[in-house]
């Protein structure tokens, strides 16, 4: 079997993607030496090479736009090439944070209050008055982040209204729409979901305790700068609620094969923060830690998902 792992691309998460792709490719090679695995960047020669090489399956390990917004998966569907992971429509819903939150709210899933606005709204209505209205709606402290994108790029925690303009500029550096979300203090966790023969299964929650207090880019990708607890140090009741939450998010958005839900646990319960249709698989990423704790092997899981993708065509 011939499998192509797509990694890289032009997103600011290119480096993370390359590392995720390398890890998945190596794990797959180790798990099943009979599978011929190649890693490949996404560029103008991709379509030609996919047509020529005709891989049995593609594993998109692209993070950020094009990789997670469904575009590449649309192309793969068009070419009739099976791939591991969610389809384009589910990716589109998951990648757009305000859209995902709105949809999940309608499903009764708790998520912090938030407002998402494009830069043009601030320009037309005047930033000061719009920011005042946002603070009134969301409250402080708040988290400001790009509506689309990952790895906490462009994300800031704002404790005082005077910090908001700079935080908005940081967020708009990574996209045209920014989201302001009420900051909820609690236990920060990530719950991965994998599709098995018995349906979607939540892996143990990974608790995230960054030294800096903020799980930003450096805290995510500098080994040693964040302490992880697997399973998360939450009550059994919260642990079960988290598993249910992650599976509900996975199924409600129509995600497939694997996903990772980021959530916050408060004494009142778990709240949804974000969903990742292409979870990071780097040396410091969360999902591989959950797999290890669950006694699962990344390579074996990937091989299983590759076969499942080929079977569904």
């Amino acid at each position: 079997m011939h499998v192509v792992v797509l990694a890289g691309g032009l997103s600011p998460e290119r480096d993370v993607s390359i590392r995720s792709g390398r890890r998945v490719a190596n794990a797959l090679r180790a798990a099943d030496p009979s599978i011929d695995v190649i890693e490949r960047d996404v560029d103008s020669t991709l379509l030609k090479s996919l047509r020529t090489d005709a891989p049995d399956c593609v594993i998109p390990m692209l993070h950020g736009a094009a990789g997670e917004d469904g575009a590449v998966r649309d192309v793969l569907d068009g070419l009739g090439i099976p791939y591991v992971g969610s389809g384009p429509d589910a990716c589109r819903l998951a990648f757009d944070k305000p859209v995902a939150k709105a949809l999940l709210r309608t499903e009764g899933i708790a998520t912090p209050r938030s407002v998402a606005l494009p830069h043009s709204t601030f320009r037309e209505l005047g930033a000061a008055s719009v920011l005042d209205a946002l603070v009134a709606a969301v409250g402080l402290p708040a988290v400001v982040k790009p509506a689309r994108g990952g790895s906490a790029l462009g994300t800031s925690i704002v404790n005082d209204a005077s910090e908001l303009p700079a935080a908005m500029v940081n967020a708009f550096a990574y996209g045209d729409v920014a989201m302001i979300e009420s900051f909820v203090a609690g236990v920060e966790v990530a719950v991965a979901v994998v599709d098995t023969a018995d349906g979607p299964r939540a892996l143990p929650a990974v608790e995230i305790v960054p030294d800096s207090g903020f799980y930003d880019y450096a805290a995510r990708y500098t080994a040693g700068s964040t302490e992880f607890f697997v399973p998360a140090r939450v009550s059994q009741e919260h642990s079960e609620a988290l598993a249910k939450l992650a599976v509900r998010v996975h199924t409600s958005l129509g995600l497939r094969d694997w996903s990772r839900t980021d959530a916050i646990v408060t004494p009142e319960g778990a709240m949804f923060l974000e969903i990742n249709a292409a979870p990071g698989m780097t040396e410091t990423s969360l999902m591989p830690q959950a797999l290890t704790n669950a006694g699962m092997d990344l390579g074996e899981l990937t091989a299983y998902l590759v076969r499942a993708a080929v079977a569904r065509g």
Binding site: L10, P12, R14, L153, A166, M168, A223, G224, S225, E227
Partner: protein
């Protein structure tokens, strides 16, 4: 329940304090995108080695291995190959230095020479005076040896003598010890400016009066564009008070990794010992390659080729800047070397703007990477050494568009960007074009 979590690095409690800043960085992540061919990179400082006579070098290298293989592939002298040291003395005559081969210590690139100089001079907390801005590789070395780096103002002629004198007085009044004045007098990285003869004399006089050693870094000195003789090195007029760093990275090839230090006797003795403890000896293979190149190839003519390539690219950059930069932007006009230094219109922040620039497929280096104290938010470095003139023009056009839209954004929010906390590397790896 687990009382202690995992940090994914069992040695996290063992690292030295100086490793604290060695973290993943958003800026480095963005530079990863800049390596893609779609992006016009005005960020890196890779020399245009494609201008070298590759066939001649291939033939020369093959002959070297055939005829001197056993010696070329063996350990060599810690101080460096004697023949090459004689040739280095000849090269330094181009910038007016009358040195002696015994005073030369060959190192794997002048970066290593810089490292060993700081290693033998600086204790933690010692003060090093550097230009504002300064070479990021030097700042990294000073940080590694836990020096207290203090920036001294520059103008269009480089380091400002009055500012230097005032800084020396202020530091000494605070009871601290100044060990080095680190300066790049010719075609400065990143500022693109050059000290005139008078300016060099004044700086030298201040250093002599103050009893402070000058560390003169001169990797670009032979790459002037005006066709005249290269700027005369400070070391040409003072042998005992200057350690001079030279490099073949820009005049031959950066991949060869051969540089050197020229130092007075006492310093040189320690440099050799320090260098031996760090690297044992520089590579015979690369030293012999440089030596063969200098003795068999028209190296002065090749430098003229490089000068012409870079002059044409510099002109393309300046022309494009004049066409595409928004009002309020200023830049230096380099008379040689690889870089121009931009000052952005008020309100713009070069680090905050970088993601937008990368999305628009153009890369530069934000100014903050060239300071240790958070300065440089309104500044950035543009490199013209690697992309061809057409790409340079396109890159600057894209940058102009990004700046216009960033100005709109900043006007919308009137944001006063906070000082950056310089988390992780702020500049690209050396292999970015």
């Amino acid at each position: 329940m687990t009382s202690k979590g995992s940090r994914l690095d069992p040695w996290v409690d063992s690292y030295a304090t100086r490793a604290r800043g060695m973290t993943a960085s958003e800026i480095r992540a963005l530079f990863s995108v800049a390596s893609r061919p779609e992006v016009v990179s005005l960020a890196g400082g890779m020399p245009f080695v494609q201008a070298l006579p590759m066939d001649a070098i291939a033939e020369m290298s093959a002959r070297l291995i055939r005829e001197r293989g056993p010696q070329a592939l063996q350990y060599g002298s810690g101080q460096g190959d004697p023949t090459l040291r004689e040739q280095i003395v000849e090269v330094m005559r181009e910038v007016g230095i009358d040195g002696h081969p015994d005073e030369v210590v060959v190192t794997p690139g002048s970066q290593m020479a810089l490292d060993v100089v700081v290693r033998i001079f600086c204790d933690p907390g010692d003060v090093v005076l550097v230009e504002a801005p300064s070479y990021v590789g030097a700042l990294g070395v000073f940080r590694a040896y836990e020096c207290d780096v203090i920036h001294v103002a520059m103008d269009n002629e480089g380091l400002v003598p009055n500012a230097l004198e005032e800084t020396i007085a202020a530091v000494r009044a605070s009871g601290r010890k100044i060990k080095l004045i680190y300066t790049i007098p010719s075609f400065h990285n990143p500022a693109g400016v050059t000290q005139g003869p008078q300016r060099r004399s004044e700086i030298l006089a201040i250093a002599q009066r103050s009893g402070i050693l000058i560390l003169e870094d001169d990797p670009y000195g032979l790459l002037g564009f005006d066709g005249g003789p290269p700027p005369r090195a400070i070391r040409a007029d003072e042998a005992d008070g200057v350690v001079y760093l030279g490099s073949f990275s820009k005049t031959i090839a950066s991949g060869i990794r051969v540089g050197w230090a020229l130092a007075p006797h006492g310093v040189r003795e320690k440099l050799v010992l320090a260098s031996e403890s760090a690297i044992l000896c520089p590579s015979n293979l690369t030293q012999f390659t440089v030596s063969e190149y200098l003795s068999t190839q028209p190296w002065r003519q090749q430098i003229k080729v490089f000068q012409e390539v870079y002059r044409e690219r510099r002109d393309a950059l300046l022309d494009a800047l004049a066409t595409y930069m928004p009002e309020g932007t200023t830049w230096t006009v380099p008379a040689g070397g690889f870089y121009s230094w931009l000052t952005l219109p008020p309100g713009l922040d070069s680090k905050a703007m970088l993601p937008r620039a990368i999305a628009a497929l153009v890369a530069y280096v934000p100014g903050t990477g060239f300071y240790v104290d958070g300065q440089g938010q309104r500044e950035l470095r543009l490199s013209y050494c690697y992309p061809d003139p057409e790409r340079i023009r396109e890159g600057v056009r894209r940058l102009g568009t990004v700046m216009e839209s960033e100005l709109q954004l900043m006007q919308t929010f009137g944001a006063d960007m906070p000082q950056h906390d310089s988390q992780g590397p702020q500049t690209p790896a050396p292999d970015l074009g």
